[in-house]
């Protein structure tokens, strides 16, 4: 049974919203702008929900459900359609994107109420929704790439929303360019797919793999190459090592943007892409191994960087990077459904954390430095409670959402040939660190004394704050309004309900969201894994190594033998213990004896400075890539080759010609007798030549 769901409407609705607001929004009142934006986002969510409900397994509609609207690009034998693809994977994604997106839209109505460029913000936000939905609904890589690049654009625009601030403009540009480096690899990956499959359509590509045309022996190199290219593309979008550097800077954008794009949706695109391409990855064990390693490194690396941050949003940013590392790790051990599961729960609690942080920032009048916060528990109780839920969720304490998904991943890692105990150990350590820095944030923000304006901040914070304050004067007069609100509130105040309502909904989801994946040893059915199973098994029954690890993951999820259960319980217990240890240290350092951190940092100054400066990665990239490149371009290529060598040759030829001309005309002495001599000599030469010719003949 087929049914036309008109899937194209889902992305198109936000696009219409964006177009309306973008073209006419300047003349609209704020209410009108938000009405348009919300209406189209809600409609998109509604349509998506209806479509998902219609094709829900058991409805009799075959999945994946593919709809093609027309041809987008065709050349030679290659063609790419405007095609949409709905299966269990994209169902989850489309619901998360539209659902969380809609909530964040609502929140933004309150949060952005006093900012200039209100219409612009919502236009961009809707534009983002359009591209993100295109990304998850596309039925081919090229259309996915449309969304892929498009969300990059939206991210660029939204990060640079406060474009009067140089730091914001820089961050937007950085995000786009770093993403483009990943996109470059994605492009190459697509070329490889075209070369070997002749198409970019999922059904064609995966169909061929499923049909068993390729054995790992024959296709090993190709699949590894494709998988590595796609993976590198994903490291850009999903902020993995080495391309994660843009995400922390992206916090220059308004907080709802951070929540939507840089936590819940866009950054998970890479995970989605790998999960979508699992059929390819399964045939490329080396690539999987690399994915796992990158995910692992990113997770621990970002977690350590998160330890020393004092900017509330930056802590969350590094946390996001770290959690994305988890998801990457999940993909790397071929536990794709676990990755998607974590993606979903992460979307809930991380969006909640960002929005909560936004609410805090809103409450304290634009302050983002946690050292100036404290004791907000009483002043903004609703925010406090929702953030608490989110913090527990991300720390991985049961029965909150984060626990289930994280446990799922760690379990898979432990069993997988690409994971193993070492990587698992790092994962657990990361879990502990996560718990530590999240509770650190929690304690610093909500407990102790409110220290607004009273604390002498370190040089770092000054440096970071300076441009923002410099920008402030101009910003308050124009629509490019910085995050720090200027509608001077005397004291701290709770956010309006339009902002709190989404927080509450997300809090509920953060709490219950994990229950769809309760593992069997706990008496659950792990619904999400079963739900996704048809997609993840649409890949081939592959031979050799890939099959064995596939077996490993499925056995882990599928059957529940007694030994298994014991082991699972041990694993789960370890990760919960790590979370609790993290909580304890956070309590110790930031609640019980707040002077302790300073003592420790003064003792381990070198390491602390390194962590505080994020391992000098940005500086390193600058010194290794950016500066030499600019110097090369300016000195060698432009001034040297272009103006020096090439133009030098060209102009030199001109000057030389003139010189020759000048020399030649010296012949023209003006003296008749010398002229006659020329004629005579010429004549003599000609006669001599002719006679020589005649004589020799």
């Amino acid at each position: 049974m087929t049914k036309n769901l008109n899937l194209w409407v889902i992305p198109l609705l936000p696009l219409i919203g964006a177009a309306i607001n973008g073209l006419f929004g300047r003349r609209f009142k704020n209410a009108m702008v938000s009405a348009v934006a919300l209406l189209f986002t809600a409609a998109s969510f509604g349509w998506a929900a209806w479509a998902v409900w219609t094709v829900w397994p058991g409805s009799g509609i075959a999945l994946p459900h593919i709809e093609t609207l027309g041809t987008w690009i065709t050349a030679g034998t290659f063609s790419a359609p405007f095609g949409f693809y709905l299966d269990q994977l994209s169902m989850i994604m489309v619901l998360v994107v539209t659902g969380v997106g809609f909530l964040i839209h609502i929140y933004s109505v309150g949060y952005m109420a006093h900012e200039g460029g209100y219409y612009r913000f919502f236009a961009y936000l809707n534009l983002f929704m359009f591209f993100m939905l295109t990304l998850v609904l596309a039925n081919n890589y090229l259309l996915m790439f449309v969304g892929w690049e498009g969300v990059g654009l939206a991210s660029y625009l939204l990060i640079g929303f406060f474009f009067l601030k140089d730091s914001a403009a820089d961050a937007g540009k950085k995000a786009f360019i770093v993403n483009r480096i990943g996109d470059f690899a994605f492009l190459i990956g697509m070329f490889l797919i075209i070369r070997h499959f002749g198409s970019l359509n999922y059904d064609a590509v995966f169909g061929k793999i499923a049909a068993g045309h390729f054995t790992p022996e024959a296709g090993w190199g190709i699949f590894t190459a494709i998988a590595l290219c796609l993976m590198f593309g994903a490291t850009g979008k999903s902020a993995q090592v080495p391309l994660y550097v843009w995400l922390p800077d992206a916090m220059e954008g308004p907080t709802p943007v951070s929540a939507l794009i840089h936590a819940a949706t866009m950054v998970t695109a890479g995970i989605y892409m790998i999960a979508r391409s699992h059929a390819i990855f399964n045939l490329a064990p080396h690539a999987l191994q690399i994915v796992a390693i990158i995910g692992c490194i990113t997770a621990i690396f970002a977690a350590t960087m998160g330890l020393a941050q004092t900017d509330i949003k930056r802590v969350l940013a590094y946390s996001t990077v770290s959690q994305l590392g988890y998801m990457f790790l999940a993909c790397g051990v071929a536990a794709y459904s676990a990755g998607i599961f974590h993606l979903m729960t992460h979307a809930f609690f991380k969006a909640l954390l960002f929005l909560g942080a936004g609410s805090v920032i809103h409450a304290v009048g634009g302050e983002q430095d946690m050292r100036r916060m404290g004791g907000l528990r009483k002043l903004i109780p609703v925010t406090f409670w929702v953030v608490t839920i989110a913090t527990i969720a991300i720390a991985g304490i049961p029965p909150f959402a984060g626990f289930f998904s994280k446990d799922e991943i760690l379990g898979a890692v432990f069993h997988s040939p690409y994971g193993g105990p070492v990587i698992w150990g790092i994962g657990v350590l990361t879990a502990g660190l996560t718990s530590f820095y999240m509770f650190r944030l929690w304690f610093m923000t909500f407990f102790g004394e409110l220290k607004l304006g009273s604390v002498e901040l370190g040089e770092e914070a000054h440096a970071a704050k300076a441009p923002a304050q410099a920008a402030h004067g101009a910003a308050s007069h124009s629509h490019g309004h910085a995050d720090d609100h200027s509608h001077g509130h005397g004291g701290v105040h709770e956010s309006p309900w339009i902002m709190l309502a989404p927080l509450v909904i997300l809090a509920v989801l953060s709490f219950v969201g994990g229950w769809v994946g309760v593992p069997q040893f706990m008496g659950g059915h792990n619904e999400i894994e079963q739900f996704l199973a048809p997609v993840m098994q649409s890949g081939p029954a592959v031979a050799g190594e890939a099959v064995s690890d596939k077996d490993a993951t499925t056995s882990h999820a599928g059957e529940a033998t007694p030994e298994n259960t014991k082991e699972e319980l041990f694993l789960a217990g370890t990760s919960v213990a790590a979370a609790l240890i993290g909580l304890f240290f956070a309590y110790l350092f930031y609640y019980k004896s707040p002077e302790l951190p300073d003592r420790i940092t003064s003792k381990m100054h070198g390491i602390y400075m390194m962590v505080l400066h994020k391992y000098y990665v940005d500086e390193g990239y600058g010194a290794i890539f950016v500066k030499p490149l600019l110097a090369l371009s300016t000195v060698v290529l432009w001034r040297g080759v272009d103006q020096g060598v090439i133009d030098g040759l060209v102009n030199g030829a001109g000057t030389a010609s003139q010189g020759v001309g000048n020399e030649l005309r010296q012949m023209q002495s003006g003296n008749i007798r010398s002229y006659a001599a020329w004629v005579a000599i010429g004549g003599a030469a000609i006669v001599a030549y002719m006679i020589w010719l005649g004589v020799t003949r």
């Binding site: 005309r665 002495s669 003006g670 003296n671 008749i672 007798r673 006659a676 005579a680």
Partner: protein, 110 residues
């Protein structure tokens, strides 16, 4: 009988003398005379050749070998015309430059 080549060599020497005169003399009039010398050298050739062809008739009867002697008259007429014009020009030069030294007639150059 004097062979043809003697005349031709003489003619060549005269012609070369004319050329050398042109190249070496500075007075415009002298130079002009040198040109006349060259023309007359040619005339000598004409006459010599005419005589030669007169004694060595060619197959083609339409060729009139005597024409060589007639040519000399043409050349002389032309030379006379040239002399008239040339002297006029020399006078014009003298008027403007007040010199007949050819080396000083070098306003136009490069």
């Amino acid at each position: 009988m004097v062979p043809l080549s003697w005349y031709l060599i003489l003619s060549g020497i005269l012609f070369s003398l004319g050329v050398l005169g042109f190249l070496l003399k500075r007075n415009i009039i002298t130079i002009f005379m040198s040109i006349e010398l060259m023309l007359n050298a040619v005339n000598l050739s004409f006459v010599a050749f005419a005589n030669y062809w007169h004694t060595h008739p060619v197959a083609d009867k339409s060729i009139v070998p005597l024409s060589g002697q007639v040519f000399v008259f043409f050349v002389m007429v032309v030379a006379a015309a040239e002399a008239a014009v040339g002297l006029a020009i020399i006078i014009a030069v003298f008027r403007t430059r007040e010199t007949l030294n050819v080396d000083r007639v070098n306003l136009l150059k490069l």
